[in-house]
Each structure stands twice: as C-alpha cells, then as structure tokens.
Symmetry: C2
Subunit: 140 residues, 2 copies
Amino acid sequence: VTEGRLLQIGKVAERTGLSLRTVRYYEETGLVVPSGRTDGGFRLYSDADVDRLLAVKAMKPLGLTLDEMADLLALLDRTAAPQELSGRELDRANAELDAYVERTHDRIRKLQRDLANARDLAQQLAARIDACAAPRTRGR
Amino acid sequence: VTEGRLLQIGKVAERTGLSLRTVRYYEETGLVVPSGRTDGGFRLYSDADVDRLLAVKAMKPLGLTLDEMADLLALLDRTAAPQELSGRELDRANAELDAYVERTHDRIRKLQRDLANARDLAQQLAARIDACAAPRTRGR
DNA sequence: AGGACTGTAACGGCGCGTAATAGTCG
DNA sequence: ACGACTATTACGCGCCGTTACAGTCC
C-alpha cells in the first residue's frame, strides 16, 4: 500500500502513450478502472493499472472491441492460477481461450494480407514516380 | 457505349465483395460515382467504375480516409499520361506521390509491428492454454 | 495566489450496419 | 402482376478528438 506509487492521469498517459481522453474512455467502458481517487476527484492509477493499460495497448492489433478485450483480460486473470479452478471451470476457460486463439490467427492472416497489399501499392506508386520522372531525363 | 456492360449495384457488390451500403457510401463521399442511372433511379456502373471500386478496396490497408483515397486516385489519373503534363505539373505530382509513398512506408512499418504483436499474443494465449491443461494431465 | 493539472458534459466524425418504408424492374 | 431488386432516410455504434467550462493541487 505504498502511496507514493499512485499516478494521476497525466503521467499515466505519458507512460502508456495513450491520450487522456482514451484513458478516461477505457474507464467509462469498465476496461481499466483506476484504483483510487483523490478527495478532489482526481483519478489515481497504481502500477498494476498502468500495466493493464499497456496490455490493452498491446492487444489493439487484434481488432477486438473494448468489451471483448475486457472479457479476454478477465479470462486471463481467472486462469492465472489454474490449480484453483475446478475441472468444469477449466473446460470453460480452455474453450474460451481456444476461441480467442482462433480469432487471433484469423487476424494474423488478415494482417499478412494487408501487409502484402501495402507493399504492392508502395511499389506501384514508386513505378509511377519513375514513369513521371522519365520524360524529363530526355529533356522533354 | 456498349449498353450491355452496365451493372446495377447488386452485381457490383457481388463482384467487388463490398456491401451495398458501402458502395452507396462511396458515392456519397464522391469516391466512386456510378456513370449512370436508369429512368427509375437505379444506379448503373460501368466496368471502369467497378475497377475503381476494386482499386479502393485494394487501398484499404493503407489506412487512408476516403477523401484521401479520392485524392490519390485523382493523382494517379492525372499522372497516367505524364507526357501531357507541364514541368511544373510534374513537379507537383511527383511531390504528392512522394508524400504518399512515405505514408505507405509508415503504414507498412505499423503493419509489421501489429503483426509481430499479434503473433506474440497468439503465443501467450497458447502458453496459457498449456498451463491450464497441465494440471489435468497429472489428475489433479 | 497563480499556473499546471484535472474534472465532467457535450458535440463531431469516420465508415459503415441495420432497419423502415416505398418505389422499380423483367 | 409477381417477386426480386433497388431507392432514400435515419438512427446506432465503436473509439475516440475536441471544445467549453469549472474545479483541484501545491
């Protein structure tokens, strides 16, 4: 309960690279709720809160909605200590994890396609630049 | 002016893989305007229109806004016949093309980061599944 | 006491999905 | 005249950016 470790939103934004607006919005949706407030109402974030925000940032490329991310984070929390779960709970958790793994692989494939596509376009643009530069090398 | 080549929106959606809503929205923004309408008001698309829609679809991974895409498409149209442009026009066009190439490379880097990130997460999820499966292999 | 920081509330915007309702085509 | 297709209008959503105004901290 080391009080000194609590940050207010500005520092949090600085350390995570997220905007103030975004951090507040994440609270609004229940995704990352600060663990405290000052008497005046200023949000106070613990290191764990900051870690959670960083985790969310890392998950962005998956293309999940914020609600889904909250779900996934909760799932990861629940399965952090698997020995404390019953067999039925483990079954459920594993099934859900599997579903997320599937979606992640789909996403990876999409990113691969997008990447190939983007490289293609970059080359086409470069070719066009060459085509536009060519006339002048011949003085006309 | 072969009339038989004009498609209405349903077929266009089918051939491009875009939704009706999306095709209509692209018209709303001026990105792809159908070259005709029936007397009753049905949109009619030429093959060139369809090609333009396909070009837009291919450009999506670049993360440009629809307005920027319209700008880029116009730029590519203008530079299709470079010998018909004056030196000043060529300069302008080349500068704009350069800017888009830059942005495209930025985008490619972002996609690479996203991809690496997604792979990382996939592995973490897989590890969690293993950790959850482990207890049961020991019957406890 | 003053300046930096933070609070809430509200509107805006992109790129569509999704009705709801009504007209058009072969 | 029937069914399949299409038109317009409008609201909603996700994820914030951007004011505007007021309060808080030290």
